[in-house]
Amino acid sequence: MTRIDATFQRLKAEGKKAFVSYIMAGDPDAETSFAVMKGLPEAGVDIIELGMPFTDPMADGPTIQLAGQRALEAGQTLERTLQMVRDFRKADDTTPIVGIDGLIVVDLPPEEDSELCLPAKAAGLNFIRLATPTTDAKRLPTVLQNTSGFVYYVSITGITGAAAAQAADVAPEVARIKASTDLPVIVGFGIRTPETAKAIAGVADGCVVGSAIVKMIEQKRSVADILAFVRGLADGAHRA
């Protein structure tokens, strides 16, 4: 069982929704990024999604694009990111990290499974797939087939940090996916406030917040401020 699976088992037993937070590894620099990451579990984060900076993130809006650029300019590499996780694990061996315990590769559809998805699963990692508003009933089984850990439902057609998610639109979509799988369904894209986190988590198994947190890093807010904001979001999701 991966750390991700174990976390969902615990949350289920506690009757709680999951709160997932996204940060970019190395943004704005390795030190600050690590300080934020270390504080996330204490702030109520159940699962950390750790982004790898890339020059050309096709699915990301300006906020996360800039985060990637800041990290790369500060010298972040794959090796440094892995070292950051090794350091994190010295004090915390339970909080799951998406990017490490499981993978989300946004532009790797099931049609290209053989190279990465299947070997990753064989190596004991989760492979978390995105379902979207354009994933129709005919296609859904293909998307779910090799997915594990959880299903990430993208609440809008668009890029990260763009339009605001609406619980009323999301609810029937989540229900549709849950009718076809026993995996938890977590909703992301367009969630920025504790209220939305609560509303969205209420119609799913949890929610993800990324750009709103990354924006605070962009604004050079203190680590304490950032973690206080994250706590508000986590509380919102946990109240659902």
């Binding site: 890339f54 809006g61 790369l72 290209e112 763009a162």
Partner: protein, 410 residues
Amino acid sequence: MAEDGINSFMTGPDEAGRFGIFGGRFVSETLMPLILELEERYTFAKTDPSFWAEMEDLWKHYVGRPSPLYFAERMTTHLGGAKIYMKRDELNHTGAHKINNVLGQIILARRMGKTRIIAETGAGQHGVATATVCAKFGLKCVVYMGAHDVERQAPNVFRMRLLGAEVVPVTSGRGTLKDAMNDALRDWVTNVRDTFYCIGTVAGPHPYPAMVRDFQSVIGREVRWQLAEQEGEGRLPDTVIAAIGGGSNAMGLFYPFLDDPSVKIIGVEAGGKGVDDRMQHCASLTGGRPGVLHGNRTYLLQDADGQILEGFSISAGLDYPGIGPEHAWLHDTGRAQYVSITDTEALEAFQLCCKLEGIIPALEPSHALAHVMKIAPKLPKDHIIVMNMCGRGDKDIFTVAKHLGFDMKV
């Protein structure tokens, strides 16, 4: 070779959109259903005579096809070796080969009921062609163009605006073609219902590389019969040469000759300031290695960690860190040869072409011509080279003037 499918170079891509290990469909789930639908609709259109009848009609009456195959007599004499022909796609409406492909995609978009067309552009030629065909059919058109290119290709920006298109300057990255393509893909992910993404080269996720190649192959098909008309029944070119940005004009010329082993195929990449570790060039095949970008696997300029590098070229149309996946495959199989030409060499060819042939070429085909200048003198007089004159130089006169130290403000 042509008759036996097994050894043919013309059967790709496979069902997964692969040319060998290259190509494929690396896009987010939001776009997956869209490209599958596009593939289905294109597969149908490809064998639909009414689709091709519409294309033929517009190619003839709107674009001005067939474009001439022109014997460049003074260039031939000057170089003193091989006989040089130019395929005059710069005479097409809008001044480049780009419109061959745009017509195909827009006719398909109309058949799919799409009302909004988006495109990326580097030199602005694909943007102008897309804006043009959208104006003709009354479709909304949005063109993404790197901020750096908006500056160096100003005449084309104004052209697009005159034609009613919205031009969006892209400031992410270094503001060139790669970044424009990222933003076009981001637009498409956002506007999935009414929007058709008209890609300007043989890149992107399957089916784009194959579809764009099929539309551009009109170039090579015409060369086949035109050369036979001028040089005698059955006479094939000995060498075909084209410049490569993403590789669409080159695939268009090369494809119909892939299964003719006597035809030597040469693609010319932009060597910028020279192909070395300064990485101030756009020669993906010579200076890159395989990776995934913009929906396909191909040779890319990248660092040790897989981060994409910004290329460099005087020519906005060649300033792209990747290359169409079919070229990557033709390179690895050895069917085609790929070389590079520097900015300086391209500028020399540009000027020579103006003076000897009365043709002001675009900077992109000037790269192809520069390689012709290198090899022609050493080849026998009965060796026939066909180079693709894929664009005219009107858009480039400001850039060239600047490099030659000529003040345009007089």
